[in-house]
Point group: D2
Chain length 330, copies 4
Amino acid sequence: MLFILKHGVDYSTLNEKLKESSASYKFLDLYGKKIVIAWPDAYVENITDPSIEIAVKPKRPFQLASNEWKKEPTEVDVKGVKIGGDKVVVAAGPCAVEDEEQVLTVAKAVKRAGASLLRGGAFKPRTSPYSFQGLGEKGLQILRKVGDEVGLPVVSEIMDTRQIDMFKKYVDMLQIGARNAQNFDLLKVAGQSGLPVLLKRGMGNTVEEWILTSEYILSEGNGNVVLCERGIRTFEKATRFTIDIGGMVAAKLQTHLPICADPSHPAGKRELVHSLALASVAAGADMLLIEVHPHPEKALSDSEQQLTPESFEVLMNRIKALTNALGRTA
Amino acid sequence: MLFILKHGVDYSTLNEKLKESSASYKFLDLYGKKIVIAWPDAYVENITDPSIEIAVKPKRPFQLASNEWKKEPTEVDVKGVKIGGDKVVVAAGPCAVEDEEQVLTVAKAVKRAGASLLRGGAFKPRTSPYSFQGLGEKGLQILRKVGDEVGLPVVSEIMDTRQIDMFKKYVDMLQIGARNAQNFDLLKVAGQSGLPVLLKRGMGNTVEEWILTSEYILSEGNGNVVLCERGIRTFEKATRFTIDIGGMVAAKLQTHLPICADPSHPAGKRELVHSLALASVAAGADMLLIEVHPHPEKALSDSEQQLTPESFEVLMNRIKALTNALGRTA
Amino acid sequence: MLFILKHGVDYSTLNEKLKESSASYKFLDLYGKKIVIAWPDAYVENITDPSIEIAVKPKRPFQLASNEWKKEPTEVDVKGVKIGGDKVVVAAGPCAVEDEEQVLTVAKAVKRAGASLLRGGAFKPRTSPYSFQGLGEKGLQILRKVGDEVGLPVVSEIMDTRQIDMFKKYVDMLQIGARNAQNFDLLKVAGQSGLPVLLKRGMGNTVEEWILTSEYILSEGNGNVVLCERGIRTFEKATRFTIDIGGMVAAKLQTHLPICADPSHPAGKRELVHSLALASVAAGADMLLIEVHPHPEKALSDSEQQLTPESFEVLMNRIKALTNALGRTA
Amino acid sequence: MLFILKHGVDYSTLNEKLKESSASYKFLDLYGKKIVIAWPDAYVENITDPSIEIAVKPKRPFQLASNEWKKEPTEVDVKGVKIGGDKVVVAAGPCAVEDEEQVLTVAKAVKRAGASLLRGGAFKPRTSPYSFQGLGEKGLQILRKVGDEVGLPVVSEIMDTRQIDMFKKYVDMLQIGARNAQNFDLLKVAGQSGLPVLLKRGMGNTVEEWILTSEYILSEGNGNVVLCERGIRTFEKATRFTIDIGGMVAAKLQTHLPICADPSHPAGKRELVHSLALASVAAGADMLLIEVHPHPEKALSDSEQQLTPESFEVLMNRIKALTNALGRTA
């Protein structure tokens, strides 16, 4: 149950009434509104109070992320870059930060081609302990420096709750990866940080579970979440993961949050990336996350699926043509 | 192993040499060429003969369907409608043929909006024996009559080998459904019929298995096959099936056959059909198969996912805008 | 809706009443009872008649296969071998019939070790048209001959409706394979044949769909169906298919039909077959279907997963120990 | 590459040689041996040194967990309870710790029936932020107190790296849950803690990825890992998850680590728990993890799948009969 409250009024009587009920509840500031969120199993429908502007009982298990109460799409602002509006925002950069020159080369190229955000991994979640684990804080420093130099806000993946203060120093947007999609303590910490969050879907998670992970962030009072589809686990092995375009569309019909698609990871091979990127945009994605490397064949991770800067430029031009045809921009 | 033979020469010496080897092989007429297909495990690499123009050893388990030997895309001709060229071909019509008026209403509407083929089920594969099983031969008669009246070639699903002569009388293109995707006797009969075949992927089949089902048809000398992605079984339940856009793209990279997408079945709900159709076209689909019903809510099957004629027209306009932007037509 | 009727009374008045309703319905002889099955969407709850002994409205989509009306487990009788009672019945034999000596060797060995049925494929559904397709009718003749000689009823897979008369001549039990699990015309023909049917689950089918395929057979008046779990398609590739022990148990809780497990196909490798067979029996399987070949490494199909006769004997001894511990026999 | 070293010799020359190569490597104490683990891509095959007893190059991506070098099964010792030997060890207890009385009641009952370990969740990973999140540290205190009182070592799930010192105070074995299965920082911390770890498989992880998660723990010098299968995500919805018995057997063939099965979570319904538990034991599980609650219908989480103490006792008796038949104990 959600109570959207009037501005500048006294909430103490309402608070008393809620205390008297057996309900679990919380006062939140979200999207410029004062809100009371009561847990779905709480019986608070009968509570009335002059401070309540609107009362809504969402039918879905995610309440704050549902478009049942917030019908207009949410725009997430990453240092001036607006995700969720007419423009399809593209974040590009290497899978892993390797050195400053690599990142700088890519950053300049992707900016020129039309990317609005710089991505790059400093802490890498790797299936094997013997794979390259990333440069760590040094990687974040490089990313920050290059981002400032080139003029692109930066996004990078956080892997552990203990890293949050470090990330606050360096990045403009936190990424939570597929393997930590249900690391609930990390979600809470990301929520508390106030930073915009790019929230990937776990490879074994349903659309409902995915949106529920955003609820962990929103219920900390942080509404700046972009949901990112990156492929699910299915029996098909011709691709690395199965990009769930249908699930992305189903999510968009249920939430006000913007949706991002990552075509690089499900593709697994760069020959497929263009087609999956275009399909995602045609299906309604608000943002794309694309891996670009100056020399993909020498990359320390995901060498098979990263685009060259040249190929990325071709893709951007196709995306622009596509968005024009669909009444959007890129 | 494939031997592409010269035209108008004597093959008898080559035939002798093949007989002497222990190879399984077959002479075929395919795509205007005389071809010898030798089973993948046959050792015939050393055979030489003046009648051989080119010898190719495809690395993939499907040989005839592979673009390793036939690099140019195949155009399948359904009574003048070319599938596999610049134009994205749309087949539309009701899930099930219910009566003549229903089919006629839909046929006129979809033709006006730009569809090139009329689809409609007369024999319906239903999960339950208690669901509507289709009108049978009467359904085919209606489809034929309406197709002729409106000027649209017709496609309908065959379910059993014993129906082949009946289908030859009424349809311009056979459809083989997901549930019969590995009914190998039916595939052989469809191959022998010479009719163009719209071949759906089984909901539990890999891309490789899907293309291999076309090999059953091609190896009967029938090259007129369109591969149709219609969604696979995954853990996600927000959609009826998971449309495998990545698998579709992976298939396109391996075969010369045209690819069709069916956005209606994976959607399960009509709200998703537009987005999935557009995504399929953006990913490179050569054809779309879309369910349209004059009154979807009264449909005897798949009432949730069929579009109204009005909604279909809107979709066709969006598809045309999209194909223009991508350098194709619709 | 099911009406179980009294014996030896007049059903004509009831038939009139049913005709007057708009219901689809059918009179059946099943499990020694006269039954009226009305389609689930028929409104016949109000019909009363002296000929009706019991009226049941099953809540599940499968009506005849449901244990809501037939609470006692069904025993399927294959020429005297009872499947579905205390004894766990084992059917064993080669994946494919290759020659008489091969089948005879295996048949003697598996009988000695405790198998009750002889299995062997004569028509083989193969993913590739270039794989061994089976000996055809000759294979059935060998199977019949060896079965008679050794004293084991035989079961073999039928692939096409046009083969039914041939199969009636040679086999004691029809097998319908995973790839034809939703070949509904074949299911109907198998139902009409009156032969016991070993009905495999499609690799992409849910438990509910699987049981519904048996409903196609039962609603033809043939109640002799054994449901066979043989592995489903999942993302896991350490095994060929994922044996769904949980699905098997879930099926057993909903139907009166006996359940068989095929540990050979999901294993894919013979090292796993023993463990999967024992797990299936511990979970409650009434029957096992196991591939045994005198020289697995030379087998023309599925060479990786077939057991040697020696290994099969070891397995049978372990199965016997296990069933004793669980209060059954083998 | 693994070098198993001689005891009590000088490793400094070997260390020099390794430094000179470009290899990443690490000295470890594991299973009573001094070991050098070199990353799989390191070229150190040519290194010889008197301190090396055996050099092994495992072919699998997990090296320390592979049975290529350690052929005898590992026994994990949890305060005297040995997991991985003849005895099938059962850990039982409530899904979530609710209060002391609840835990005490269950602990006494499961001990009496034959359980060797007490399980109970204090920090609960919940899909929704509005579901019961556990009692936190208070839950661990209750668990510890009851465990001591009843005489059962305790196991509980850790969710975040920051909790490690707290867990060290209270538990005898850490559990890492399915949702944190690829929380690599947590795996490292668990490895460093030296505590035995019950490591669940992620619901979207392959067998190979699952064993690789144990490699993160082993490569910190902690060899006390039990791998726990708890069901994977598939299209089947008759059960909550699909217990992957085949994957469990495949794992056992590749690793020396003991395997645990959790039949409660994949079952989702208590009617299925017995059968899945028995199947797991028959397939070779070394341990079972079973949810038991004094009043399952009132449980604050997973109320559908928890057994009553009475039902647990019946199950234990069946397990004992089964293990006797298979030459083990319980």
